[in-house]
């Protein structure tokens, strides 16, 4: 009797990450662990000034130090700018504009020698007046940071739909508030670094932690004067990214310059202090939000103006308005909307992209306002949000099409599971209770929702990803994907999707994803796109392989391929599950046939999204993610300390592919969002970071974490792989907003600034707004 094989699915299973074994044994090779023969240590000399003309750099002594192989300054480089504004030359020759500025670099035999050499470089500066607040940088006569931008404004953004004047006229209540969001930074546990090496023909290999290997080649090529086709990017295992590795920062071209100058492999690695000083930050934003509502609870308009502190140079932080305006225009139905951002150069640190990309800032303001408006019209926070929530198949005035939309479900399940309404009312009763010692602790509950792209974001002409897939003679599958694994678990999800199509366990699948010489093109990891885009592409390639295998099996077995299925490494009859042929055997028979063939397929998935038009309108993502979080907290009104007790979260994930991985994303995101709200604060004073260490920059630690109660709303997105949407960024987005709403519920005091660290909270509660004696 032949065995009957049941159909088993890999979708929704708790599949451990494929790379976990090498990570738990210490075998995973990060940039810090790679050793190349003859490799030199590269180190960077940074500016001691925040705004100064460089009068002279003298490297004579440093060059003379035994063991030093190269000392470079701007004079040794092409001087082409990096970044979104192309305003950031890797080594600065004329002037420095912020604390982290790179002015010289050394390659030496050892770390000690390199460090000694840095100290021997003599730099003469001529200080320039500096400016540290965007508002002041806009004033007439303010110091000019970049001569080509005499007003210090590299970019502005304007968006509108409807007519806010009309919206305002229709409103029964109008409110306006100023929000101020602070500097925080990624704090990837693995510090930044790169290794560069040229071969004898001038081909460059870079070991880079970049999240965008293919764009990297194109962007770095003019800066280092090496054509893209001569650049190979190999990505080691990456010790955390969260957006920090989306742009190219000066240390990478500097590493390449050093490798070229010494004709040796060179590695540049940061210390933790350097990581703080020379990594991008989250975009600090000053935001004025004006919103209106009718007495029946219908939103009428939003008018938002923001000031972005761009720091000394332009990286991705300057483009966060793309995402901020989405939330302003389309988180809940807003008939009339106007949005303006002015991006302003200062002598502060500059910002890059960071998980959520402006959305934490925007959601903080919008969801604070939602609570305020609800209260103003006498509705509870839930009913008010429900009333204004979008529904599936809606198109927002900005042109986003919500084919699926689980916002209402997210709202109802989180509030129901947390007992939101009853607690919200009860806490309000005790707001005014006496706060003397003993009863100083008050409880609060608050909610916030989010909208974020969930199917990529078409910010380039293509938002696609390629896959090459081959099945070997023992039915082992190699998936070569353009996408990048940064710890988020994309490899595993890709393996599950491929295994699902080919009826194979994930153990039969190897995912290759880290070498531009091998992998096909992809835009990179950002915009929560990997599961969606790379997943669809891998699935496409797997389907082609499946078709090919079934046709071959049909021919061999002389049956209609339509009646066959692939299960557990076998070709089976799909109706009965009767096992007919071993998959490996089938493939070997193809290899040994007279007209031999290999099973190798490829696929390029391009999502059906479009680039925004000149008014920032258009369906920029193939799918949108929604979520709601309810936060319960305690605040000690005697000390200002907040403890987050519980976060009830619901996310519209389309479809759960891997529960283990998606839970991990949500738990990690919630804790990151909580850190943003109550713990993390990069203190920048007069352009200088005051706390560049984990001792004084507080990440959340294990004893501080809340209970996280997670719910997944499966809306089965028609375009997503098996219905899934991207949710990499979403969980971090609305936590801070829910926290500030909960703090209001506990105390009756509205905070419009972050972070909510104890002293700031206490000052706020004492209503002395920073002017305490």
């Amino acid at each position: 009797m032949t065995a009957l094989i049941e159909k088993e699915t890999l979708i929704g299973k708790r599949v451990p990450k494929l790379d976990a074994p090498k990570k738990v044994t210490g075998a995973a090779q990060y940039i810090h662990d790679i050793e190349l023969p003859g490799m030199l240590v590269g180190k960077i000399r940074r500016s001691e000034r925040v705004h100064a003309r460089i009068v002279r750099i003298d490297t004579t002594e440093a060059k003379a130090l035994p063991g030093v192989h190269a000392v470079l300054t701007a004079a040794d480089t092409p001087g082409v700018g990096l970044g979104h504004g192309k305003d950031n030359p890797p080594l600065k020759g004329d002037k420095v504009r912020c604390e982290r500025d790179e002015i010289a670099a050394v390659a030496a035999e050892t770390e000690d020698i390199a460090e000694q050499a840095l100290k021997l470089i003599r730099v003469e500066y001529e200080d320039l007046p500096a400016v540290f607040s965007p508002a002041e940088a806009l004033e007439d006569g303010a110091p000019i940071i970049h001569e080509q931008h005499p007003k210090n404004i590299p970019f502005t953004y304007d968006y509108h739909h409807g007519d806010v004047a009309q919206g305002e006229a229709e409103s029964d209540v109008v409110i306006e508030d100023n929000y101020r969001l602070h500097f925080v930074t990624h704090c990837c546990m693995g510090v930044s670094g790169a290794i560069a090496q040229f071969d004898s023909e001038g081909n460059l290999t870079v070991h880079s932690q970049t999240q965008v290997p293919f764009l990297y080649k194109k962007e770095i090529a003019p800066v280092i004067a090496v054509p893209p086709e001569k650049i190979r990017v190999i990505q080691p295992v990456i010790g955390g990214a969260f957006g920090s590795k989306l742009d190219i920062y000066p240390f990478e071209p500097i590493c390449i310059f050093l490798a070229r100058a010494t004709r040796r492999p060179v590695r540049v690695l940061f210390t933790r202090e350097e990581e703080f000083l020379a990594s991008p930050t989250r975009q600090p934003v000053e935001l004025v939000l004006r919103s209106g509502v009718k007495s029946d609870g219908t939103l009428t308009f939003r008018n938002c103006r923001t000031l972005h502190d761009n720091g000394g140079y332009t990286s991705w932080g300057a483009t966060t308005p793309f995402v901020i305006m989405q939330t302003i225009s389309s988180l809940y139905r807003v008939p009339h909307c106007q949005y303006h951002t002015t991006v302003v150069y200062t002598n502060n640190p500059y910002s890059g992209s960071f998980r959520g990309f402006g959305n934490l800032q925007a959601t903080f303001a919008v969801e604070s306002h939602m609570d305020k408006l609800a209260e103003a019209v006498g509705m509870d926070p839930l009913a008010f949000r429900m009333h204004n929530a979008q529904q599936p198949e809606e198109t927002t005035p900005q042109g986003m099409v919500f084919h699926t939309c689980g916002l209402s479900e997210c709202l109802s399940i989180t509030t129901e599971k947390s007992g939101f309404l009853a607690k919200h009312d009860a806490n309000r009763e005790t707001q005014a209770a006496p706060t003397r010692t003993g009863s100083a602790v008050k409880r609060g509950i608050g909610m916030a929702s989010l909208l974020h792209v969930g199917g990529g974001a078409k910010i380039y002409r293509s938002d696609g990803c390629g896959t090459i897939l081959k099945v070997d003679d023992h039915a082992h599958v190699t998936v070569i994907t353009g996408s990048t694994e940064i710890g988020q678990g994309s490899e595993t999800v890709i393996a599950q999707l491929v295994g699902e199509e080919l009826g194979l366990p994930v153990s039969a699948i190897t995912v290759i994803n880290s070498d531009t010489e091998i992998t096909p093109w992809d835009v990179g990891v950002h915009a929560s796109r990997t599961t969606f885009i790379a997943g669809n592409s891998a699935r496409g390639a797997a389907r082609k392989a499946r078709d090919k295998l079934l046709i071959a099996a049909g021919e061999k077995l002389k049956v209609d391929p339509e009646t066959l299925d692939l299960r557990k490494g076998l070709v089976v009859r799909s109706d009965s599950g009767e096992s007919l042929l071993e998959l490996g055997k089938l493939i070997r028979s193809l290899h040994f046939a007279r007209k031999a063939e290999v099973v190798m397929t490829s696929d390029y998935y391009e999502p059906p999204s479009v680039m925004q038009d000149s008014e920032f309108k258009g369906d920029v993502s193939a799918s949108y993610a929604f979520g709601t979080q309810v936060v319960e907290l305690e605040v000690d009104t005697g000390t200002g300390v907040i403890r987050i007790l519980k976060v009830t979260s619901a996310h519209d994930v389309g479809k759960v592919i891997n529960a283990l991985s998606i839970e991990g994303q949500i738990e990690g995101g919630v804790v990151m969002g909580m850190g943003y709200a109550i713990a993390e604060h990069l203190i920048v004073k007069d352009g200088r970071m005051k706390n560049p260490s984990f001792r004084d920059y507080k990440l959340v630690t294990a004893p501080e974490i809340p209970v996280v109660d997670m719910h997944f709303i499966e809306t089965n997105d028609p375009e997503g792989p098996v219905g899934a949407k991207g949710v990499g960024e979403a969980p971090a987005i609305c936590t801070a907003a829910a926290i500030v709403n909960a703090l209001y519920n506990a105390t009756g005091v509205r905070f419009c600034e972050l972070p909510l660290t104890p002293e700031i909270v206490l000052r706020g509660l004492k209503q002395c707004g920073g002017h305490c004696p």
């Binding site: 704090c187 693995g190 010790g239 990214a241 738990e667 294990a702």
Partner: protein, 165 residues
């Protein structure tokens, strides 16, 4: 700064090691740069992140805070020495199956700290596990799955014989 070297010998993951190190070098630098054991990670170099956690005479310490010369005569276990003859240790298996590793950079340190908790007292509460890993930073997981993993390993160790560190 110039500094003399000192010859030291100690047991590393069960084998004898003899090296000479500059007397001001820390143990993390010795392990990574000199002995090429790169499983132990540098995250901060100042005791705040726990990525460099190793066991010295069975006790968890930050390798970045320990003078290498102080290893003389002691028994060191690093992440490379945790595996048993049958493969992954209970703690390592639990980290895999519970999804406790994402980017994985914090993982070796957390496994060493988890192993030390497990060796110390098999019966500890979730709150004690949280306190037990207060010196380990993880930016990816939010710690929940890490705590699950350690609790799972403690559970399975209660029913199984004590594991060698």
């Amino acid at each position: 700064m110039k500094c003399i070297k000192q010859e030291i010998s100690f047991t590393l993951n069960g084998g004898a090691v003899c090296v000479d190190v500059p007397v001001t070098t820390d143990t993390l630098t010795m392990l990574r740069d000199r002995l090429k054991l790169t499983g132990t990670k540098y995250g901060c170099g100042e005791g705040e992140c726990g990525a460099c956690t190793i066991l010295v005479d069975g006790v968890a310490v930050n390798a970045c805070l320990m003078f290498a010369v102080d290893c003389h005569g002691r028994e060191l276990t690093t992440i490379e020495g945790v595996q048993t003859e049958d493969g992954l240790s209970t703690m390592q298996r639990a980290f895999v199956s519970c999804g406790a590793t994402q980017c994985g950079f914090c993982t070796p340190g957390l496994i060493m700290q988890g192993t030390s908790l497990l060796n110390r007292s098999p019966d500890i509460s979730v709150e004690q596990i949280k306190r037990g890993i207060e010196g380990n930073l993880c930016r990816c997981t939010g710690y929940h799955k890490v705590i699950d993993a350690i609790a799972t390993a403690l559970d399975s160790n209660r029913s199984a014989p004590k594991e060698h560190s």
